[in-house]
C-alpha cells in the first residue's frame, strides 16, 4: 500500500514537472519526483544508490536548474502551442507505454533466488573498476565542457559590451 502511494505521488510530481509552464516550478516538481524515486530505490534494496540519488538528483541537479533558470531568465509565461499536436503526443506515448506494459508485466517474476553475496562497495571497487574510470573521465569532461561554455560566454559578453 505504501509503495502504491509513493509511486502515485512520484508519477504525479513528474507529470506536474512536465506540464507546468513556469520553469522554476517545474524544477521543484522534478526535485520532488527525484526524492520519491530515491525512496523507491531504498525500498528496492539499494540504500547506497538511494542516498546518491537523493543528494545528486534531488539536490545538486535542482540547484543547477535553479541556477541556470536564474541566469537564462524566465521566459514570459505565455503558453506556446506545442509543435506536435497534443492529442497525437498523448496517443503515441500511451501506445508505447501500453505495449511495454502488456509485454513486460505478465513476465514479471517476483521471486529472486540467487542473491549476490558481495557487498556493494566490493562490487563497485573491484568488479566494476572500469565503470569507475569511465565515471572519472565523464566528470572531468563535463567540468571542462561547462567551464569552456561559461568562459566562452563571458568572452562574448565582453565583446558585446565593448
Amino acid at each position: 500500500m505504501f509503495d502504491l502511494l509513493i509511486v502515485a505521488a512520484m508519477l504525479g510530481c513528474a507529470f506536474q514537472a512536465v506540464r507546468g509552464t513556469r520553469l522554476l516550478i517545474a524544477a521543484l516538481w522534478l526535485a520532488g519526483a527525484s526524492a520519491l524515486t530515491a525512496i523507491m530505490m531504498f525500498r528496492l534494496g539499494a540504500p547506497e544508490v538511494a542516498v546518491i540519488e537523493l543528494s545528486v538528483g534531488a539536490g545538486l541537479v535542482t540547484v543547477l536548474f535553479v541556477f541556470a533558470i536564474n541566469i537564462a531568465g524566465e521566459e514570459p509565461p505565455v503558453t506556446l502551442r506545442s509543435l506536435v499536436p497534443a492529442p497525437l503526443a498523448w496517443i503515441v506515448a500511451l501506445c508505447a507505454v501500453g505495449l511495454g506494459a502488456a509485454m513486460a508485466l505478465p513476465n514479471l517474476r517476483v521471486e529472486s533466488s540467487l542473491v549476490q553475496a558481495d557487498k556493494f562497495a566490493t562490487v563497485v571497487w573491484e568488479h566494476r573498476s572500469l565503470d569507475i574510470l569511465l565515471q572519472v573521465v565523464l566528470i572531468v569532461g563535463g567540468v571542462l565542457a561547462v567551464l569552456g561554455l561559461l568562459a566562452g560566454g563571458r568572452a562574448d559578453a565582453r565583446k558585446e559590451s565593448q
Binding site: L83, V92, L99, G100, A102, M103
Partner: protein, 584 residues
Amino acid sequence: MPDISTLAILSIALPWAGAVLIWLVRDRQPQLQHALAVVFALAGAAAALAMIPLRSEVNVLDFPLGSAFGQVTFLPDGLAVFLAVVATTIGCLAVVFSVDYMKGEKQLGRYYAYVLFFIGSMVGLVLSSNLLLIFVFWEITALCSYALISFYNDDPKAVAAGIKALIITQVGGIGLLAGALFLYAYQGNYDVPTFLAGADRLPPNVLALMAFGFLVAAAAKSAQFPFQTWLPDAMEAPTPVSALIHAATMVNAGVYLLARFYPAFEAVPNWKLAVVSIGAVTALMAAVMALVSNDLKRVLAYSTVSQLGYMVYAIGAGGIFASQFHLLSHAVFKALLFLSAGAVIHAVHTRDMREMGGLGKQMPLVKVVMIIGGLALAGIPVLNGFWSKELVLEAGHEGGPLWAWLFMLVGAGLTALYTLRFLSMVFYGEPRSGQHVHDAGPAMKVALVPLALGTLTTWLLAGSFGHFLGKALPEGHDVESTGALLLQIVTAPTTFVALAVVALGLAAWWQRARLAGLAHSLRGIGTMASNSFGFEAINRAVVSVTEASAESLRTTHNGVLNWNVMAILVGLVVVLVILALGGA
C-alpha cells in the same frame, strides 16, 4: 629465411609503412619522396616474390579479432600469390615510371601515399581468406581508386569521375558484403576455405543469392556490363595510376573473386550462363566503343573493359586457368600500353589522338614497346596475348554457348582493328601538332623495358604457371607442360578461326578506304557507341531520381526536436508491435 606468414604481412605492411612515411615527409622534399616510394614499392615486390616458393594450400596466421569478425587468416596459395606478385611488381614499375611522369607535380605526398596504400591493400585483398577482411580490403582499394582518380582535385571532371567510380563500385561492395553476411549467418564464420570445401552445406537459395551477389560485386569492380561506365571516366587519373589500378590490378579483383569462388558457385543454376553472358556482351560492346573513341586513354580503357570481359567469359565457361593466364598476359601488356601511352601524353600534353601522329621519330623506344603491347592486345602470334586469348576462346568453345563464342570472335577481330587504329593515329602519318616533343625520361624507360620483355616472354611460363596455381584450379584442371599446352593451342581448330578473324580485322584497317561505304552504313552503331549505348543516360536518370527523392524526403527533416522524438517513439512502437506479434 622468413616464413610465409611473415612475408604475407610484410608484403602488405611495407607499402603501407612507405605510404605513412611519405606522408610524414611532407611535400618540401620531392626527391626524398620519389626515392622512398621506389624503395618501399621494391621492398613490397621483393616480399611478394619471396612468397612464390613458399606458397601454402592452407590458412596461415591465426590472429583472433573477436567473435564478430573471426580470425585474421591468409591463404597464400598459387592464385593469391600470383595476384599479389602482379600487384606489387606492376605497382613497383608504375612507381618507377611516376618518378619521371610526376616530376614537378604538386602534392606528391598524397599521390605516392595513396599508390602505396593501394598496393598494400590489393595484396591484402588477394591474400586474405576471411571474407569480411576481403570486403574491408576491397573497399580500401575502392577508396584509393577514388582518391587517385580525383587526384587533380581542382578539375571538376576528375572529381566527378572519382565520385562516379566510388559510387558504382560501392553498389558492387553491397553484393560482396551481403554474401559475407550470408556466409556468417549460415556457416558461423567468415572462413573462405571452409566454405569452398563444403559449399553444398548451405541451402541452395542462399548459395544462389551469394553467387549473384558476388557476380554483381565482380561486375562493378571489373567494370563489366552493366557497370562499365565508370572505367573510361576514371582515365582522368594520372596515367601511372590508370596503368596500375585501372588496367593491371584493381579491376582484376572482380575476376579474382569469380575465380576464387567458382568451385562453390559452379552448381548454382544459371550462374555460369550469367557470367558467360556478362563477359561476352561486355567484350563485344566495349570493343565497339574503343573503335570510335578519339581519346587515347579512353581507347585503352574500353579495351581493358573488353579484355576483362574475355576473362569473365572464360570463368563462366569453366576455363579458370585460361582466365588467369589471360589475366597475367593482360596485366603485363596493358600496363605496358598504358605506361607508354603515358609517355606519349606526357610528351605532347594532350590525350586527343587527332592531335598526335608521326610521333614514332621523336620517341623510338616508346614506339617499339607500344607496338609490342598493341600486337599482344590484338592477339598476334608469339606474343603473350595471342596464347592466352586463344586459350580463352578454346575454353569458351568447349564450355560456353555458341552465340557467346561468336561474340568473342567478332570481339577479337574488332580488337585487332582498334589496336591498329590507335597505333597508326599515334605513331604514323603526318605530325599534326607543331609543338616540341621530348622523348621519355630515363625512369620511364626503366619501367617500360621489363614490361615489353614480359609481353614477349610470359607465355613461355604457361605450364609452370598452371602448376603454380595448383589446387586453386577446380578439379580435373590439370595443366600439362608448357610444350604440350602450346601444342594444344597451335593444333586446335579454334585457333585458326580466331587467327582468321584477327587477320580480317587487320585487313579491314588496311583496306579502310575501300570499306568507306560499309563504314558509312554502320555510322548509326558508331554514334550509339560514342554515346556509350545509352548507359550514361541510365546513370543520369538514376542520379536524378535519387536526388528528387532525397529532396522530397527533406520535409521529414524539419529540425524540430519534438518531431524527431516523435519519429523515435513511433519507431519504438513499431518495434514493440513487431515483437508482440512475433512473440504471440
